[in-house]
Structures are given as C-alpha cells and as structure tokens.
Symmetry: C2
Amino acid sequence: MSDTEFKKIHESDALARHQVNPYGPNPADYLSNVDNFQLIDSTLREGEQFANAFFTTEKKIEIAKALDDFGVDYIELTSPVASEQSRKDCEAICKLGLKAKILTHIRCHMDDARVAVETGVDGVDVVIGTSKFLRQYSHGKDMNYIAKSAIEVIEFVKSKGIEIRFSSEDSFRSDLVDLLNIYKTVSKIGVNRVGIADTVGCANPRQVYELVRTLKSVVNCDIECHFHNDTGCAIANAYTALEAGARLIDTCVLGIGERNGIVPIGGLMARMIVAAPDYVKSKYKLHKIRDLELLVADAVQVNIPFNNPITGFCAFTHKAGIHAKAILANPSTYEILNPHDFGLKRYIHFANRLTGWNAIKSRVDQLNLNLTDPQIKEVTSKIKKMGDIRPLNIDDVDSIIKEFHAEINTPALVPKKTKADEEPLDITAEPATKKAKKE
Amino acid sequence: MSDTEFKKIHESDALARHQVNPYGPNPADYLSNVDNFQLIDSTLREGEQFANAFFTTEKKIEIAKALDDFGVDYIELTSPVASEQSRKDCEAICKLGLKAKILTHIRCHMDDARVAVETGVDGVDVVIGTSKFLRQYSHGKDMNYIAKSAIEVIEFVKSKGIEIRFSSEDSFRSDLVDLLNIYKTVSKIGVNRVGIADTVGCANPRQVYELVRTLKSVVNCDIECHFHNDTGCAIANAYTALEAGARLIDTCVLGIGERNGIVPIGGLMARMIVAAPDYVKSKYKLHKIRDLELLVADAVQVNIPFNNPITGFCAFTHKAGIHAKAILANPSTYEILNPHDFGLKRYIHFANRLTGWNAIKSRVDQLNLNLTDPQIKEVTSKIKKMGDIRPLNIDDVDSIIKEFHAEINTPALVPKKTKADEEPLDITAEPATKKAKKE
C-alpha cells in the first residue's frame, strides 16, 4: 500500500469516526443510559455518615440549595427517625421548594415509613440487607420476612402518593436468585425504582455489568446504583452500570460517606462528560463543581485531595517536555477534559528539568523576547541543568531566559564598543540585578 | 417451600461458594491474570512528571529501596537523556543491587536508546504516540516511520541482552488496525512486552477489556498497561485489563504523575487483595503501604487524600448505628478489606447522632459498667439528643454514659439512706466532677 493510499483510507476513517463519539457507549448497545442518566445526591444522608460530618440545619440548607443549583435530580436526606433534629431538618428542606425532588432513606420497617411520609418528602428510599452476612449479623431475618416487610412498606408509601424505591444492601454478596425474586416481586407491586448497593465496595465493573443487565430483564422500573469506593472502583462501576441499563447513580460531593465513601459527583462528571458531552453540559452547571466541593470540604473539615478529578490542584497541569510541546499545538493531544468546561484553566509547568524547548519557546513568546530556535534550545539546556540542582519556579526560569537574551545581544554590542574603549552599554542590568538578588 | 427447606438449600449453597472466592475473577475465564500479575512502579518516572515532584538523588534512592522492599517487580526511571543528573541517578540506582528489575523509559529513537543501554538498566521501555492527535501534533510521523524506528530500536536494545518493551501512547484513541499491525510486528521480532497506554485517561473498563483481549490474540508476549486517572477509572481499568489477560500494571505511589496521575499502588492493592488474597499477601509487604505513601507524600509535599484507599484517615471508620451493630458482631458485614492485613485498625465512631444502641452497648462494656439493654437504649437516646445539638467526642459520650450510670444507681441508694437522715454516699462524685469541668 502506497503512502497516499494509506493516507486516503485514514482520512475517510477519521471522517466516519467524527460522526460518533468514540469514547462514548457502544451505539449498538440499546441498554445504555450513559446519555440519559439521573443523579441522586446523598451528601446529606450517606455524607452524614462520613466520620467528620456534623451538619447544622443552616449548613444542610446551604448544601441542598447548592446541589439544586448544580442540577442534581434528587437530594437524599438522613432518616427522620435517626434523631429529632434529623426529622426537623428533613421537613425544613422539603419546604424550600427546590427543583430537585427530596428523598429520605429509611429501614424497611413500618415504624420508619410512618414517620417518613409525614415529613413532606417526594419519595422514600427503603433499604434492607439481603446478604447472608447482613441477614445473620444485622437484622437476623430470612428472605420471606424481608419480602413481607417490603410489600407492607411499599404499599403504605404508595398509598400516600409519593415515590418509593426498594433497595437491597450488600447486593454483590447476596444470592442472585434471592435478589431477583425480591426485585421481581417489588417491581410487580409498582415501585418507582429498585436499587443495587455495593455496600462494602467489593464490586468490579464486569460483575456490575452482569448484575445490572440481568436485573434489567427482570424488572419494569428504573434501576438505581450505589457504589462504595473501598477498592477504588466506584466511578467505573457507576459508568458500567449505566452502560448496562441502570438509570440513576447515587453520588456525594467529594464522595464523602461511610469509610472512604461512595461515587464523587465531580469524578462522575469527569467520566460522563467524556461519554456524553452534550447531555452533561446541558443538564449540569459544571462550572459550579469547584464551589460545591469547597462548600462541603469546609463543612466537614477536609482538604480537596491533591489528585481529585477536575479540581485537584494539578488536574490540568502538564509537565514533561514532550507533553508540553503537543499541548501547545493542540490541547486535545494530552487532555480528554477541557478545563474551560469547568470554569478552570490549564497550566504548562515549564520550570523543571523535564521541560522541553517547545515549552520554553512558548514562555519566550509570552515574555515578548526574540530568540531563534537554536538559541531557545541552548537556553532550555541551561534551564534543565539548573533544574537538576534544585526545584525551579517561574521567576527562576524567567531570569535565566532574560539573562540569556541579554547575553545574546550583548556580544554584538561589545565588539563595536571595545574599539572605542568605552564602558559598554549595560543592557543586562535588570536581569543581572534580579539574579544577584536571588543568589 | 417451607422455611426448613429454604434454609437447607441456602446452607448447601453457602458451602459451595466457600470453595471459590466470589469477588475474584470468573474461574471460567482462562485469560485472567488477576492472580498472576506484576507491578512496574513508575514513581521515579511518571511520578517525576507530577507538578510538585523534585527528587534529589538521595530521595530517589530512598524511594527505590522502599519500593523494592515492598516487593514491586520493576522500578521504572526517568529517561537518562532528560537531563545530566537523570542519567547519573539512573546509573546510581542500577548499582544498588535491588531485587526489583530496573527499567528506563525513552522515546522510540536511537539517540535515546544508545544512552539508555549504557546506564546498567535491566530493560528499556520504549514509547511512541500512535493516535492521530499525537502523530499530527507531537512527532508528526506516519505509521510506516513508527514501525521502522521501532524495529531499529528494539533490535539494538535486544542486541545488548536486556529487556525491551514497546508501547504505543494514547492507545485508546489510536486506530485499532494500526495498533494491531505494529504490535504484531514488534511481537514477531521478540519484544518482552507490549504496552497499552491510556495517556489521557479516557478509557472505560469495557473498552479496556475488549482491546486487551483482542491484543492478547495477536501477540505472543506479555501485555503491560498504563492508565491515567483523569476520569477516575484507573484502578478499575487496571483490574479489568488483568481480567482480559494483561500481565503487568504501571503504578505510582499515591498515583502521582502528569495531571492527576495514574493507578495508585495502594488503591490497586485494595482492589487486588479482594480478588486474589493469597497471591497479594504472599508477594507484597502490605503493612509497608502506609510508610511508602508517607515517604512519597513528604517528598512531593502533598497530604494523603482524606479518602485514600486503605490509608485515608477514615477508610476503616464505621459510623451509622446499623453499621456499628453488625461490625461488632462480624467485621465482614461492612468490610471487604481487613485493616489488620495492612497493619491498621478499625474504628467505630459512636459519638454522634447517627449512633445506635449496639455501638453504645459496646462502649458501656469497654467502660466496664453494668447497664441493662433498656437502660442502654435510654442513654443512647440521650446521646443522640446531645449529638443533634453539637459535634460530640468520645469524652462527651463517656461522660453522658457515666453520669447516667451513676443516676441509675443513686436512687436505689437514696431511699435506703433517707430513713436514717444521713448524708447519702456520693458515688456520683467522680463523673459529676468530670462533668463540671466540661461545663
């Protein structure tokens, strides 16, 4: 095959691929809800189970409003039976008149359900442990008892005209047949959603895909998923669940929750914008992620993790020489996320020993200095040598560049002037002073 | 079906499942290397591209020794052509005589290869961009040129008797046929490994599974994978790659690297110990993860993220009442990771409004006090009320319990003594004093 033929094939190929998003779901996969998902934010329920969380009523209201403004579809609150104040807070948030629907999360028990339906919520999320661990060590009930309680609670909540979700707990360690039996039962009596919960954070993406796809064939309602992050797979599991036909994902701001938490809303947005950019950008106010995270981080007294998706301090920082070169030519070469979508900026870290001459050339242009490519390569080599000795900051690099620029220009002047034996014009004065100050 | 029959079926089912690890790979999947993987730690290469990283020679040696002690199979170092000191450091680490094999990572170019083979490394990792982005904006070469350079470099490195890996860059945005063509070529000329790199962090688990499985059918050598974490899927992608037959995963301590980094070694261990506990425990010194992370966090001046797998401050903290109850009966109910495997401890957070009476009962026992279950429920209610008003610490809860215990016992004494009209024995003195101090 000639180079021309090779090129032709590739161009038509590239054209064909332009019509779809290659990082999105497989378009042949009719199950996928990757571009049709909803968020149930649980910062005020699961998040309250985070070790450091103590939310006052005012803080809960502030967080609920911020979540609503961001665009989450549902806000889930701590059970009103957890404490007297929890009940009052639930009622107060229901009265805010938010666009997001308000849910509360209760045990599968009539005592809890009776209190929940009186708070003014739009829906009730019911949960019961179905794994043999939970049946043995938590509530001690068998599957028949679980089914009976579930039906009673569901019919009661439905009779009040509000939404009802039934979820198992620790679903990935529950018996598959037990699970499908109970989900089929509750689907028949008309729940709005069934929930799958990876309560201990043990699930992996292919397990998630299989379970959700199987469940999808058994129930007629939406599927909601709740993934803990103990083994670092929560975001990937959520994405794969949507591919398999789940519709709703539980999130928390910064992922706060029991132990090290669940799917973080920011990280999930990073994942979803790659797969379904139009849907995500039209539905959620992505430029509010940073403020939302800062609000919650401050409330629970943690720092934004250095490696947080999107808002980590270096999420859009490029350092290695070959990366910087390509990023300068086209940011898409080394960026799948565009910082501008989140109201943020990219940064090219050129002040270090791994830097390359393309990054330095860009800096020389920013400084409005004129150097040829061979000259830029020479000064880059000086910068790399200095970067071997100690950490550099931007001022250090700028000084080296300016000094080099001055030296380049000085020799051209010096020979002319030496003839006259005069004091040469000190055009290096400014950088030299700067350098002296540093040393 | 009667309850007895139901129970019988379940017991035999539980027995059958005891013989396999239900969270591990599908045993029918002959491709899987989940219990036969190797780690290439790149903290001293990819990690050096982290915005904050500046490693002195001494620090590099300290990190290399710690990685070796932990048990990584390979240690990858920055290219010796990056800077003069990078070359010297590479030589110094090769001379340490570590058990781990030492690799260096270079561009697919003879100039780099000639320097690399002289450093004393056990192997060379070669990389070249194959996506249309990188071909257009980075090196500007076509696939024929790439293949030609690759063959030259590979044959040269092999002639020196050391290991050679060939990797594409940005593999998930490269043309599949181009990729398979070049991998097939380099496999035929005898590379030790081929590498897939998700350079921009766009890949999702099912894409990874498909690409690795396809590649596995084309090459005769091992497959290594390098996953960036921009969209939060690095750990899950690594796990899924192993399921599909990849053998080696690139990691960094705390995942440090370009932008927000790659697969973190600690997080991957959390994932892998669930799937292949015997392999992971026998091969890696898991109790050293915390020290390894602290060493690197200190060197690059970051904090361990609050939600870090395993070592995050709350990774083994349980808070909600229903969780605490079950954890006290059997930790496996809400824990997929055992903190003892990592030299760490679990903690039950009982001092808050979400607490339950089982958690308080456990605390009452720890305090060596005698209260009946109804009494414990009563004091739990008091604690929850106080927890509604303000954040509680352990001292607060202990004071409430001790005071309650004293009150319970006092009335029993008071009636007896009032008859004699004497001063009642002040058994509440100690808690009362404590309480006074607090107020």
